[in-house]
């Protein structure tokens, strides 16, 4: 169930980022419903959770909330990669990178060695 909610979160976010306009739960639900069986209340819960996590901001419009992403997708990807590859001092072993950064000089040398 947790996994499914996680999947739904990204499905919801994909739509909001792609549409790039304030969106109601109903609109997201209707689009999602075309691709999978999902309950309106589930979508509402997911979007409410995303709001609580600070990923979505919302405001009242008439009798319903309309939502929009708090930040762009690119900003989140930036955070993600900074988390994974940045030089933060309080890094734990939560992630294992493949390579670290290299100076241009060293790169040239290495490339020469590979040719």
């Amino acid at each position: 169930m947790v996994r499914r909610l996680g999947e739904l979160e990204s499905a919801v976010m994909d739509r909001l980022w792609a549409w790039d306009r304030p969106t109601s739960v109903r609109e997201v639900f209707e689009d999602l419903h075309r691709h999978r069986s999902v309950a309106y209340t589930t979508v509402m819960t997911v979007m409410d959770n995303l709001h609580k996590k600070g990923v979505l901001s919302r405001e009242m419009s008439g009798r319903a909330f309309i939502y929009r992403p708090a930040r762009t997708r690119e900003e989140y990807v930036g955070d993600l990669l900074e988390d994974a590859l940045g030089e933060s001092s309080d890094r734990t072993a939560a992630l294992l990178g493949f390579v670290e950064r290299l100076s241009p000089d060293e790169l040239t040398k290495l490339r020469d060695g590979l040719e």
Binding site: L80, E82, D83, A94, G97, R101
Partner: protein
């Protein structure tokens, strides 16, 4: 007396022996053995200090006059306080590590959920980004993460090598090897052996993963993949972060292309024996003292 010897032994391991191990070249030829060596060394330092404190508890012997009794009580108190302090520092480091580690993993998983998409064919999570990167998230929901740029930068053989490298990290549970060193370093950052152990283990697990990948793929493909990703990941973070681990990649590439042979079986056996001796010495030194201390502890008013 035993206690002074044990403290001396801990100091010997923590500085000169650790320095020699850091300089040793055989660890690159047998990285798994190298990781074991660092862990045994760290454990030995810790055990020697703990046992040293135990051994400081004097043996009361048969002499039970008032003055002697007081001296024993004082020594008991000092030793017990020392052990409690060391234990508390270690415990605090462990707790803060576990908390930070799980928080970081949770945050990362959350971000991945939002922006990543699973690729079942590659058995990896893809993230849209213009700079090439590959890494893995260990733990319960372990996964390999690739940026879309990594897919364009790497050819098929190189991609297979990168995936094999990351899978080796996950299969080998390398994060646990790193965690042990990290906790000790958090607890006692001023002990050179613990500082070096963490850096060395981080370096050696990369070599282990490289070797594991090289068993399934061509070494040159892996080397090319390393260079391709190191070249491209420059754009991810600001230039101030440059070259921190740069030489490590250079060494890995040279190692993959070079003719370095893995350590022979006999040399490996000798190394293993040497480590076991490292651990055995404090144990042997302390066993009579421990027996004595146990005897006294039963009389000690503070325990």
């Amino acid at each position: 007396m035993t206690s002074i010897l044990l403290f001396g032994y801990a100091a010997l391991l923590a500085v000169p022996v650790a320095w020699l191990l850091r300089r040793a070249t055989w660890t690159s030829r047998a990285p798994a053995l190298g990781v074991i060596a660092w862990h045994v060394l760290s454990a030995s330092v810790l055990l020697a200090i703990l046992f040293g404190a135990f051994a400081a508890i004097p043996n009361a012997g048969g002499d039970h006059d008032e003055h002697n009794h007081l001296a024993v009580a004082e020594a008991c108190l000092v030793a017990v306080v020392f052990l409690v302090v060391v234990g508390a520092i270690l415990g605090k480091a462990l707790v803060s590590y576990v908390r930070d580690d799980s928080a970081q993993r949770r945050r990362h998983r959350h971000l991945l959920h939002l922006v990543g998409r699973a690729d079942t064919q590659l058995d990896a999570v893809l993230v849209d980004h213009a700079s090439a990167a590959a890494y893995c998230v260990p733990g319960r929901s372990r996964r390999v993460v690739l940026t879309t740029a990594a897919l364009t930068v790497l050819d098929e053989a190189q991609l297979a090598a990168v995936l094999a490298h990351e899978q080796a990290h996950l299969r080998g549970r390398h994060h646990l090897a790193l965690a042990a060193g990290r906790v000790l370093r958090l607890a006692f950052p001023w002990v050179p052996a613990f500082r070096w152990a963490q850096d060395e283990v981080a370096r050696l697990v990369e070599l282990i993963a490289d070797d594991a990948a090289a068993r399934h793929c061509d070494r040159r493909d892996l080397a090319r993949a390393l260079v391709a990703l190191a070249a491209d990941s420059r754009s991810v973070v600001p230039a101030t972060a440059f070259a921190a681990g740069g030489p490590a990649v250079a060494v890995r590439v040279k190692r993959l292309l070079g003719s370095e042979r893995p350590l022979g079986r006999r040399a490996a056996a000798v190394c293993l024996l040497a480590f076991l001796l490292l651990l055995a010495v404090p144990m042997l030194a302390v066993s009579p003292a421990l027996a004595g201390a146990g005897d006294v502890l039963s009389h000690c008013p503070f325990v």
